[in-house]
Symmetry: C2
Subunit: 179 residues, 2 copies
């Protein structure tokens, strides 16, 4: 391994983000400072109904200043990925799944944070009660054929990394590709 | 739009990461604090040779404490995506491309940072001089058939979000999928 940590300083601790600065020895042997953030691991859920439609949600993203369409999901908050998928899916869409499978896992920004995002395929869906939190009051939900959701990835309308990876991997696994 | 910014405070300014804390009005009308980081936009390059092989690099990731295989790329550092793609591809692989096309753009962690990663397809390749920077001294390069690189995405061996999205979108565009 090329990197060595000499010491770590916590520079900021907020409710969502912790910022650290490490004193490191870099791969070339020189000393340096390495800033990075700790945030919760995430999960994104490809919830697919029997007609091959996927559940998408849309809400206001503060930093982008616009609404974004994405897969249901959010922070794992210490839960295992499938448990977090179950909770987030219920909160944001009211759906419960009797068949959850891991589709993959990605490192969204590995140079800045070690947080990972798990991608989950959810089928055998039942409808229940939506229980969105305070930041999700403007959230809306829609059903889209999986091939149309993948087309929205290709055009850039869907751009959140976990949603992009989850939809492309789901299409690949299910072989429901449209040409 | 559901979010409103009242004020912004710069909490930390490092060479790579700036941390901000904003005083906001949330979508439910309540006041709150929103921490977020500013980092450079990124680029990842799918460099494809005439045999359908893609150039992959591997180096030490500090936060993960292991080597990771990924597409060539890095920070845009103020350059347009195609210019940054040209520079990063040359630095990390020595390759020059006479045909660069945008494959897409993703938001790696949109709740934490507005930084985006552009995905670029590079063909018509020529070989030149590798000029890696100090953090890349242990970097190695390999050529892999695109279908094998996508298989490495499916198995999770390749997990960096820009590499995952870039490879899956390239496969989709080129129709070189293996079943």
């Amino acid at each position: 391994m090329g990197w060595l940590r000499k010491s770590r300083t916590l520079l900021h601790e907020g409710p969502v983000v912790r910022l650290y600065q490490d004193d490191v020895v870099r791969p070339d042997g020189k000393r340096g400072l390495y800033s990075h953030v700790a945030v919760t691991d995430g999960v994104r859920v490809v919830a697919l109904d029997e007609q091959g439609r996927v559940a998408l949600v849309e809400d206001d993203f503060y930093l982008q200043g616009r609404r974004m369409v994405h897969l249901p999901g959010g922070g794992c908050e210490g839960q295992a990925p499938l448990d977090a998928a179950t909770r987030e899916l219920a909160e944001e869409t009211g759906l419960a799944s009797a068949n959850l499978q891991m589709l993959g896992i990605i490192d969204p920004l590995p140079a800045i944070t070690s947080a990972r995002t798990s991608l989950v395929l959810a089928t055998d869906l039942r409808h229940g009660q939506v229980r969105r939190d305070a930041t999700e009051v403007g959230m809306t939900m829609q059903w889209l054929p999986l091939c149309d959701a993948v087309e929205a990835v290709v055009t850039g309308e869907i751009s959140e990394s976990g949603s992009v990876a989850g939809l492309l991997l789901a299409e690949r696994r299910l072989g429901q590709r449209r040409r």
